[in-house]
């Protein structure tokens, strides 16, 4: 368990670094959640943004609206900016939330109240854009976390880290569903614990892995 003081420090540093809040949002449309394809897709989408888009979305705290829908059914009317491998997820934007009014009327907000299962083994993806790079591990603490919450944390963690340069093209990213080790972290998501508003919780942390990851227990 990470000490509350450490989390408070992390949150304060993040708030201090924040500029004026932006008005940009991205829409993610989900038919299914294939974690590897989803993470890869989110990374490809974030890294393909131009500098202005990236800055605007970062200033808007990578706000993302998750909608249930089949990307394959949308192309004729709403062409996604990126589609995940396998077509299970797609991304639109960034833009102002009003820009997606028609899409939001056509689809429904993603609902997923079921708890996220543990992962049998880590999900591994390569950050698109180059052949080799550093090794990173994203710890996502899924204890009592619903799919809905999970996607929010995973999406923010991955996209913010990519936009901040902490997940460079070619890097290997390993996703695990377990609590993070003690700092240092390259990137962290700290917020109020939804089950105990008096406490902070570390939802996700990205760490550098120096050598080949250790397999098995």
């Amino acid at each position: 368990m990470i000490a509350q003081e450490v989390l408070q420090h992390e949150l304060a540093a993040r708030l201090a670094a924040m500029g004026e809040l932006g008005d940009q949002a991205v829409v993610a449309v989900l038919r299914e959640v294939d974690l590897a394809a989803y993470v890869e897709g989110a990374l490809a989408f974030a890294l393909a943004l131009d500098a202005e888009q990236a800055a605007g979305w970062t200033a808007s705290l990578t706000r993302t609206l998750f909608l249930a829908g089949d990307p394959g059914h949308l192309a004729a009317r709403h062409r996604p900016d990126h589609v995940a491998r396998g077509g299970g997820a797609a991304w639109f934007g960034p833009g102002r939330p009003d820009d997606y009014q028609a899409l939001r009327l056509l689809l429904r907000a993603f609902e997923g109240e079921a708890p996220v299962p543990a992962l049998g083994e880590p999900v591994r993806v390569r950050v698109p854009g180059a052949d080799g790079g550093p090794h990173r591990r994203l710890h996502l603490d899924v204890d009592r976390m619903s799919w809905q919450e999970h996607l929010v944390h995973l999406n923010h963690a991955v996209c913010e880290a990519a936009l901040a340069g902490d997940l460079p093209p070619g890097a290997t990213l390993e996703l695990t569903h377990d609590p993070a080790p003690e700092p240092p972290w390259l990137h962290a998501r700290v917020g109020t614990d939804p089950r105990d508003s008096e406490r902070l919780r570390l939802f996700a942390a990205l760490v550098a892995v120096d050598k080949e990851p250790h397999h098995g227990p």
Partner: protein, 320 residues
């Protein structure tokens, strides 16, 4: 079986006891607890409806209050001289909820998010129709799934499916149309407006319609008119005058005029033609789906300037 029927049954058993005898109850008496349930917001959660749903699925269970209501409706259909399409037939639907979801999924017509703790959606978004929730995360299926359980197995058996429904449910039936069409059905939609009472259209659950029941209308009309004039006059009023849209509020005066008109038609509408000419006439009243449009047919009874075989129509369609 839709949730509101199950809620009604559960409410009756909870408030009146499971052994209440409904055999002598009228439709007004049976409607009072329904209106009360909604006014009190006393609907049970889905978990409390499960035993009823299981009994329906397992044994074709029908609550005694609904059995009584169906009996009353059959009497009212007879009183109106309406064809009974099988109100009392209680056959299980040809497909289960899971059969329907699987058949839809195979054609990319649904989105099943139950594994994430979300709902099943009906998906015709490629046709621009909004995604529609159909089965809740708790397993509760809505009326669209109930319709599909009955209709999907029938698609191959009929030339055409006619969906007749309350205009307020138009978006849902546009969706049903797309889904059934994807399974090879030819679908026609008939959207009907509710007749406003004193300028407003309210759901039956709010009450306020108690003086406009079938029996109330019939008792008033039959005190002054013969049965045949009552049958014909009601059809002239509700079909030809109010049309599909029902733009005007219910009016006892306009209804009375149509009852009087029915009397004159029965006396004077004697124009008859041979079978070939009659068929040729009916062809001119066909709708796009190929069937004779009841609205155009009924309106033709009011035609003054063109020849209409009113005698044939009365004998074969309106007062057989």
């Amino acid at each position: 079986m839709t949730a509101q029927t199950l809620e009604y049954w559960e409410y009756l058993d909870r408030t009146l006891g499971p052994d209440a005898d409904y055999a002598g109850w009228s439709d007004l008496e049976l409607s009072a607890p329904y209106v009360r349930m909604h006014a009190e917001r006393a609907k049970a959660p889905f978990a409390d409806l499960q035993p009823y749903l299981e009994a329906v699925e397992r044994d074709g269970y029908v609550h005694p209050a609904s059995q009584r209501l169906i009996g009353i409706w059959q009497e009212q259909f007879a009183r109106l001289n309406l064809y009974d399409p099988g109100l009392a037939i209680n056959e299980p639907p040809g497909m289960s909820v899971e059969d329907v979801v699987a058949a839809l999924a195979e054609r990319g017509l649904c989105l099943d998010h139950r594994r994430y703790g979300g709902p099943v959606y009906l998906d015709a978004t490629d046709r621009g129709v909004p995604l529609r929730r159909a089965v809740g995360a708790d397993g509760q299926a809505n009326y669209l799934i109930c319709s599909l359980r009955q209709l999907l197995p029938m698609v191959g058996d009929y030339d055409r499916i006619l969906l007749a429904y309350d205009r307020e449910l138009d978006p849902d039936h546009v969706l049903l149309d797309h889904l059934l069409t994807a399974f090879g059905a030819s679908v026609t939609r008939l959207s009907l407006g509710r007749v406003p009472l004193d300028g407003s259209i309210k759901s039956s659950r709010h009450g306020g319609w108690e003086s406009h029941t079938v029996d109330a209308l019939a008792d008033r009309a039959l005190s002054d008119f013969e049965e045949e004039a009552f049958w014909l006059g009601l059809r002239l009023y509700f079909i030809a005058v109010l049309t599909r849209e029902s733009p005007a509020s219910f009016s006892p005066d306009v209804l009375r005029k149509q009852l009087q008109r029915a009397v004159r038609l029965i006396e004077n509408g004697t124009e008859r033609v041979d079978d070939d000419a009659y068929r040729a006439f009916l062809k001119t009243k066909r709708a796009d789906g190929g069937y004779v449009d009841p609205y155009r047919l009924t309106v033709s009874l009011n035609e003054r300037h063109k020849p209409v075989p009113k005698g044939n129509l009365l004998d074969e369609v309106f007062l057989p």
